[in-house]
Amino acid sequence: MTQFKGILLEHTLKICNRCILPETFPGIHFDAAGICNHCTREAPALAKAGERKEAYRRRLDDLIAGVRGSAPTYDAILAYSGGKDSSYTLKLLRDRYDLRILALTFDNHFISPAAAENIRTVTDRLLVDCVTFKPPWPILRDLFASAALEDVFPAPTLIRASAICTACISMVKSLVLKTALEMSIPLVAFGWSPGQAPIQSAIMRASSSLTCQSQKTLLEGLPGGLASGLGRYFLPDGYYEIFKDRFPHNVHPLAFFDYDEAEIVAELGKVGWKTPADTDTNSSNCLLNAFANQCHLQRHQFHPYVWEIANMVRQGVMSRDEGIQKIYTDQDPAQVGYARTMLGLQ
């Protein structure tokens, strides 16, 4: 196994020789060659990945052919952060399918100035309508501060993302779904990277009853005061029945389209997107992310992005060296300090 010393943690850290998952990752074990159990388990699926991606591209083509132009105003709503992946997803859906898209940006009060500029530029260049949803700062401050101080989500959720990211993304997912239902939009698109969510979930109709139960579980798990203030950002109980037949398809195309970070950045350059210099190594839009990572690292002893990046290394869409650079680099103290001060957690 590869070993690091003095990076990330103050002791020697062994990581998988293939995918970069560390020995501190829950449930991990290594074979004699230093290969982790996740690499071994994924090997058969990876062998069939090319064929599977092609099948999913055809499936998306068919799905879009069936819904394009059928809704009153928009064919798709995209959760649009202004980051690299959601910007590329927006461009892909415009260029390949010429969809009528509503981009919804959730302003969590930590959008970097460079990302805000990218949102303006890209939506203008692609002629896409964009709405920004910005909850009041005290509400988000209390939510993020709470997630920074304690694990307000179940342990399995926190294997794939930090508590702060989970809090934010839960609101984003709910808001785009709510808007899709209210505006009869048949597709909800996300810019999840190929490592974030598996291809099996890349095209699927949202389920009314499962969404209902998921949302109930999420809100019930939050500290009392928080849940009551956040209720309005989630689906009202009546929606599950009223809109039962209107639940959209969720799609995350980057799970099955070619994904090469350098090519994506070059492609986005054509619509004016610029790589931000003010964010951490795992985000191209959020000034809270470094602090979220730091909190997670301290509590769990593994990086909240390591599952995603390890998947991408394993899939061959990112080099191992690049993955190591993204994960095993200390968080920028200035960015961590900025978010901590904003949240009043000095």
Binding site: F25, P26, G27, I28, H29, N37, H38, R41, F153, P154, A155, P156, T157, I159, A197, P198, Q200, S201, M204, R205, A206, S207, S209, L210, T211, Q213, S214, T217, G221, N250
Partner: protein, 92 residues
């Protein structure tokens, strides 16, 4: 038959959502959503596994907690979906 399916479903959940944790505390009737083991996206991964492993299609209207929200519910759902003649092959 039922035991074989339970073992498969439990194994899939442990490997994919508990990341190899033994899942010792996970009872057959525990709600996977309420325990935070899977979210609505995770359910779709489970659905894909069922379709690939058992060779049937999960229809949109079957995406309900009563079919998918616990090891026992998933097992019961699989047993209802599988044709009788396939029961013998699952023992193999």
């Amino acid at each position: 038959m039922r035991e074989t399916i339970i073992r498969d479903v439990r194994h899939f959940i442990i490997e994919n959502f508990l990341f190899g944790d033994s899942g010792n505390g996970l009872k057959e009737t525990d709600s996977l959503l309420e325990k935070g083991i899977i979210d609505s996206t995770g359910v779709l991964e489970l659905v894909s596994h069922l379709e690939e492993t058992y060779g049937f299609r999960v229809e949109d209207e079957e995406l309900i907690p009563e079919n998918l929200d616990s090891i026992a519910n998933v097992t019961g759902y699989i047993l209802r979906k599988l044709p009788r003649e396939s029961f013998g092959s699952l023992h193999a």
